[in-house]
Subunit: 112 residues, 2 copies
DNA sequence: ACTATGTTTAACATATTCGTTAATTAACAA
DNA sequence: TTGTTAATTAACGAATATGTTAAACATAGT
């Protein structure tokens, strides 16, 4: 994977396990052991996923004794969204087209 | 890469060449040759990138004679954004914390 | 039919990803 | 010290990603 920020962020999000971890962390910080529990996967595997998320800036980690807690830091999601915003006018255009299509269809006068 | 929709979408966005292709297509549809020109990369390489974007639903392609044009279809970006929206309250929380911190710092009364 | 142009597919090399198990490090508790 | 728990690192293997060049396929023009 390329090492520019957006590639690292999107790359981190491109794995269902990592997205599930983020979803879990939305309910509050958790240790590696707690994050491992729901998955049929070894702790080293989760540990690596956490490293990927950390590199993307999507989590921060802090040690408290033996326990290493991960906390959600969603700022990179905003960065990603901002990149996608460049295409919003195309969404709008798509919606307009869909809307127009539905109106034509509903009126029974669709020229297609 | 996992083959669920979101993984395919995020995976497609996790490459700078592919994001550049999408940016180019925001200015209108283009052929494979036209999309290859700006890159120091062979046409087969671009052809594969286009396939990845197509699989993610980010472009559609239509042949007109010899020319195979790619067109932006940004709907999947919205799907990705919708997933990220789950974390919007954390963005807001982050902003709130930042805001509060700045206000405390500005007033010279920051208890920290 | 022949040739030129546009694009994909085949075959290959290399690097990265993602998982495993085993070994190691770090912190706590007796 | 010894043992237990928490987590990472090491070493490995299999699958996937990303690029290359050469060959094949598809359409157009003469």
């Amino acid at each position: 994977m390329a090492d520019d920020r957006l590639s690292v962020i999107f790359g981190a999000l491109a794995d269902p396990t990592r997205r599930a971890i983020l979803a879990r962390l939305a309910d509050g910080q958790a240790t590696v052991t707690e994050l491992t529990a729901p998955f049929a996967m070894s702790m080293p595997a989760i540990s690596r996923h956490l490293k990927v998320l950390e590199r993307a800036g999507l989590i921060t980690r802090s040690r408290s004794g033996q326990h290493l807690s991960s906390t959600l830091r969603p700022d990179p999601l905003q960065e990603a969204t901002e990149w996608m915003e460049r295409y919003r006018r195309f969404w709008d255009a798509s919606f307009d087209r869909l809307d127009a299509h539905l109106r034509r269809a509903a009126s029974g006068k669709d020229p297609q």
